[in-house]
């Protein structure tokens, strides 16, 4: 299936939302391009769910506007909702129906139901390994199966934009891997994917651009590579010929770990220099036999951003 692309998959401008005293969104501006694999990260309470709910029409904003594929989520809600599929975070289901009934009903809400859609629903069941459970009541399924049905429900109307709100929370490793294979396939077919997850290695492996939210604002929005380069520190691992019992005093504050003859230093990006560290060690009588560097992971960048150690720049 090939997806037709429009100007912006998601466009959000000046979005504010308050729940009583809580200012959940404080002026969000965001654009997700068609066909992107976009990560939306942030600690609990950062405003991710509120933003997703506004995009899905489940919550109304106090100020600002949001559009899916150019369709305003309030003024043009029918077209906006046809263009969007949301896999909710909570595993919810209707206990009265079987898997096939649930999918047929969901397609019907979107005015779909003919032979083409039936074939697509069967394809979804196959792709999500649910074919043999198609006639089972939703209550009879395991948690992982119910989550796969949620994904099928979100895709039953072939939306251009798919939001996956923590789709792998509480899912076993094998199922998680199969879900990502399927989501990658959707992305390759042209779907815009927006992913929220607490598994940052998943976002690092899959997403092209990432927004990190903090306190109802976008704290960072950039390509994955650019975000990783924002990290304050990187790791330098030095192997010495003999176990190093002491390091020069000017390196002590940078020493993170010492294991036998391996020294691990945390170097500040832009200020610390690897040659200077190596020269200090050599001057102290250590013979360096090997070195390795390791860039910060997305998790480290995330923690630095969400703890406010990297300043928030307007995006």
């Amino acid at each position: 299936m090939t997806v037709v692309r429009s100007a912006s998959a998601i466009e959000v401008a000046g979005l504010h939302k308050r729940f009583g005293e809580v200012h959940a969104l404080r002026g969000i501006d965001l654009e997700v391009r068609p066909g992107e694999f976009f990560g939306l990260l942030g600690p609990n309470g950062a405003g991710k769910s509120t933003l997703i709910n506004i995009l899905a029409g489940l919550t109304r904003p106090d100020e600002g506007r949001a559009a899916i594929c150019g369709h305003d989520v309030i003024a043009d809600y029918r077209k906006a909702r046809r263009a969007l599929g949301v896999v909710p975070q909570e595993v919810v289901f209707d206990p009265f129906f079987s898997v096939r009934e649930v999918l047929a009903i969901q397609a019907g809400y979107f005015g779909l139901g003919g032979r083409d859609n039936k074939a697509w629903r069967e394809e979804l069941l196959r792709a999500l390994m649910l074919t043999d459970k198609g006639d089972a009541n939703m209550r009879a399924l395991s948690g992982g199966m119910k989550r796969r049905v949620l994904i099928a429900q979100a895709l039953v109307h072939r939306p251009q934009v798919v939001i996956l709100d923590e789709p792998t929370a509480g899912v076993d490793v094998e199922l998680r891997a199969s879900l990502w294979v399927f989501v990658r396939r959707l992305h390759e077919e042209g779907h815009t994917i927006i992913l929220t997850t607490h598994y940052l290695e998943e976002a690092e492996a899959l997403c092209e651009r990432i927004a990190i939210m903090r306190d109802g604002r976008i704290a960072a929005l950039d390509s994955k590579e650019a975000l990783l380069s924002r990290a304050i520190s990187k790791t330098l691992r030095v192997t010495t010929a003999e176990p190093a019992t002491a390091v020069p005093s000017r390196l002590e504050s940078k020493l993170r770990k010492r294991t036998g003859n391996i020294l691990e230093f945390a170097l500040q990006q832009g200020t610390d220099s690897i040659p200077e560290v190596l020269e200090s060690l050599r001057m102290a009588g250590h013979v360096v036999t090997d070195i390795a560097t390791e860039q910060a992971s997305l998790e480290e960048v995330f923690l630095e951003l969400t703890r406010g150690r990297i300043s928030v720049e307007p995006q």
């Binding site: 109304r60 209707d94 809400y109």
Partner: protein, 251 residues
């Protein structure tokens, strides 16, 4: 339109799948009332000349069952969907507030009619019950159950817990339906209680519905029809306003 059809069909399927509880149980309850009251008041003078007390009871019991089941259908479906969270699948769809409202009310009307037909079908085995004014019968049946279906939408949207809904049902719908002339005629009451009873919109539903069978009523059937239609429109407007605003649905 297809989206509306699907939601309407889904709501029908929801009560059909548990028909034992949603259709047969209310029919049995109504027949038990009939049995108990018919036995207790055996030999009582006719309320309507030429109509036995048992025959007099049947239209009232039919309408009371319709009222209670129409309310229960929309309200319980909504509260269950809200509490289990599966309402999200409807809210994510491109259905309009009007389609949402009409599908829930439509399914309530169908369930109410099924229960009424069940009570009638079982009752006429024992008591002959002619229908003198089928159009009035149909109008009161449809408008009454639609009005209570709409009231069920209001209650289902408003309630956030099962006990809040049970409170609405037990302290509003059930007392109003019992005190609406199911078991007696308005003329049997003292003047004060007649005046109080006239404030109960369900009285006009039952009185008008009974007129459809016997051709006699306590209140003019046209006036009753106007009251019932006004009630139906008023609760529909309120329900639509709540659904349209997304009150306790989209927040």
């Amino acid at each position: 339109m297809k989206g509306f059809n699907t939601l309407f069909y889904k709501e029908l399927l929801r009560f059909y799948k548990v028909a034992f509880q949603t259709i047969f149980a209310p029919v049995v309850t109504a027949l038990l009332y009939l049995l108990v009251f018919a036995s207790t008041f055996k030999g009582r003078p006719d309320i309507v000349p030429g109509v036995s007390y048992v025959a007099f009871l049947i239209p009232g019991l039919m309408m009371m069952s319709m009222i209670q089941n129409a309310f229960a259908n929309s309200s319980s479906s909504l509260i269950q969907s809200k509490i289990t969270g599966n309402l999200i699948f409807i809210l994510l769809s491109p259905l309009s507030a009007l389609e949402f409202f009409l599908a829930f009310v439509g399914a309530s009307v169908v369930r109410a009619l099924c229960v009424a037909v069940g009570v009638y079908g079982a009752a006429i085995i024992f008591v002959p019950l002619p229908i003198l004014h089928p159009v009035f019968l149909l109008l009161f049946g449809l408008l009454g159950s639609a009005g209570l279906g709409a009231l069920g939408v209001i209650a289902g949207v408003w309630a956030e817990r099962f006990d809040q809904l049970a409170g609405f049902q037990n302290f509003v719908v059930v007392p109003l339906s019992f005190l609406s002339g199911v078991f007696y005629s308005l003329r049997d009451l003292p003047p004060f209680w007649q005046t109080v009873s006239r404030l109960n919109p369900l009285l006009y539903m039952i009185d008008g519905f009974r007129y459809g069978f016997f051709g006699t009523s306590d209140v003019s059937p046209v006036l009753s029809l106007a009251f019932v239609a006004t009630f139906c429109v008023a609760v529909s407007v309120l329900a639509m306003a709540l659904v349209g605003r997304g009150y306790r649905l989209r927040n």
